[in-house]
Symmetry: C2
Subunit: 364 residues, 2 copies
């Protein structure tokens, strides 16, 4: 509706408009629950005490003042809070939280209310060892640590937004991701515990929207790399992996990956700095994908990386770039090999259903 009226509607008015949807849903669901014989009330983000900063359309939650929610719960009511929205501090304007804002609202409220668990009902029934559309044998994970879930979200798992998981981790809110369509338990995302069975590898993830940018023969003097990435950061471009390989004659090659949407911006930005940076040429390749292994057990099990490289090599898949964290290994490969790589890794690290079910049987 806004686009029909304006190419660039004011963000404040966009928020006034966008906040209406969740309010309508909350009111309608409250009516439905009321008809089922329960006492239900809807609350706007503002009424629920979701206080945000003033960054319209992408506001951050600053504080939760849930006394109205608490009061209604104490009165035995079912409370429907319009998610994705809040009220800005000082200006008291309606704000929206941007991507992942609805889940984040739920997690933030659960934290403020000291809830035992925050259940996220969605269109999948949990977090899987990998994308079941690629690997039918993929297994639903009964539980996973915040850190693993963060790495999985960061490396391509779509089930939860990084932002809400980060929020849950910071405030220690147990998340239960489950299906809206069944009562089957889903996946619990919780604090890592000593007694928590630590799979060496919990999941295989992939991201297709990767592009590789290479600056050839950058003169190798101090501060050049810093200059490059400061410029990119200034343009709000998210750089994922970086490699710098020293080459002969006092020059180096700098390669890094960005979201393929950003390739054009990056190109024009850096070409504008060519003289200052003194590189020979800039090469881009948006035909890249990233395949990752995530698992808390990696911390205590060396050799996972070696095995990953081996599996990819056996499949004649060339590794362009590598990055690791204590619980994650990512490899950038050609997009065309993604499915093959995911299947091979899932199989090689024994993530299929049968095998795990077998282990669980032994566990009893």
């Amino acid at each position: 509706m806004a686009r029909e009226i304006s190419d660039d509607p004011p963000h404040r008015e966009m928020d006034m408009l966008l906040s209406a949807g969740e309010r309508i849903s909350a009111a309608l669901v409250a009516m439905a629950i009321h008809d089922l014989g329960h006492n239900a009330i809807s609350l706007t983000g503002s009424q629920a005490g979701i206080v945000t900063d003033q960054a319209h359309t992408k506001a951050k939650i600053l504080d939760i003042r849930p006394h109205r929610v608490q009061k209604a719960l104490d009165e035995g009511k079912v409370v429907l809070v319009a998610g994705f929205q809040g009220i800005s501090t000082i200006t008291n304007d309606i704000t929206t939280l941007g991507r992942g804002g609805s889940d984040t609202t739920a997690v933030a409220l659960a934290a403020a209310l000291g809830a035992e668990v925050c259940e996220i009902y969605t269109d999948v029934d949990g977090v899987y060892t990998t994308d079941p559309r690629i690997v039918p044998e993929a297994r639903k994970l009964p539980r996973i640590s915040y850190e693993e879930m963060l790495e999985m979200a960061a490396t391509g798992a779509k089930v939860l937004m990084l932002r809400s998981v980060e929020f849950a981790r910071r405030y220690g809110v147990a998340l239960h991701v489950r299906s809206s369509f069944t009562d089957a338990p889903g996946t619990w995302i919780v604090q890592e515990e000593e007694n928590m069975e630590q799979a060496i590898v919990s999941g295989v993830t992939y991201a297709l929207e990767e592009a590789k940018v290479t600056l050839h023969r950058v003169c190798d003097k101090p501060g050049v790399a810093a200059r490059v990435f400061t410029a990119l950061a200034g343009a709000n471009i998210n750089v994922d992996m970086i490699i710098q390989n020293v080459s002969e004659g006092g020059t180096t090659d700098i390669s890094f990956t960005v979201a393929d949407d950003d390739v054009l911006t990056v190109t024009s930005l850096l070409c504008g700095l060519q003289e200052e940076l003194g590189f020979e040429r800039l090469e881009t390749d948006d035909n890249m994908a990233k395949v990752s292994l995530v698992g808390a057990g990696m911390k205590t099990h060396p050799g996972v990386a070696a095995k990953m490289f081996e599996v990819l090599a056996e499949n004649d898949i060339n590794i362009e770039m590598i990055s690791t964290s204590s619980i994650k290994i990512s490899c950038v490969i050609e997009k065309q090999h993604t499915e093959q790589a995911v299947k091979a890794l899932h199989q090689a690290f024994g993530l299929e259903a049968e095998q795990i079910e077998h282990e669980e049987t032994l566990g009893r």
Copy 2:
């Protein structure tokens, strides 16, 4: 949407739902004005300081605290207030104002802000001497007093809700009713002034939704009539005209008119009281209409009523009931004669365009 979910949705939730529409409109209009190069902001009823009672879906305005509106105006902004809604005192819930609520919001804000005039833009270009669909010669009134407008609204004129006019009168807000589609001036509704040309008759109105109820041979003892109308009031039934004509043998007939929607309720209610009231039989006729003359000049010009009866008689239209105020005369007639009566009265009291234009010419 609500009806699809529930036959009897909670009023509080209806208000949460219904308030969304005006918010969406306000935001979209603010965007449009912004695109025209002006600084515009939308405010919800709550942000605009519209404080109401807690009667959801038909709330009354208790107070206006327009400091946000005033501040935005002082900053040179165009302010779009979502009408028809407010926030309830004490409970701080979203309320809606019910029928006429949008106009009433505008009038209330104009009063609170001390505006010179409250312009109501609508789909007709003003208040006419009668319904132009019935009388093509009907004339647009340049100005009319609050009292006349109230009587016209009360007797069937649809252009403004009684409620918003009453509000304007109480706070002395000048109303200007005009068309959304032209810049032509419409009708000003203002305080009656000495120097204000007082047409003897300003307009002819009609209402078709009338029903007549008669209680035959009610035993004529004190308090019976009171009992009847207390019972009706208790059922929220609006009684318009009442006649009681003494008949022989210590009994009387009581007739009154109600909205024809209420006939069934009235019948069952009064039949339940037949023993107590001791009437012989109850008769209803929902084939009635009410035709009215409204004009501030009547106060000082006797004989208007006589002329009205005469005109109806000449047209063989039987008068069932009559009620008068200082500036209004209403006659209940059979519905089928409504159009004929309106035409004859409009003509007899010289309300056609030419003649008035002529008078105005003389006036110069």
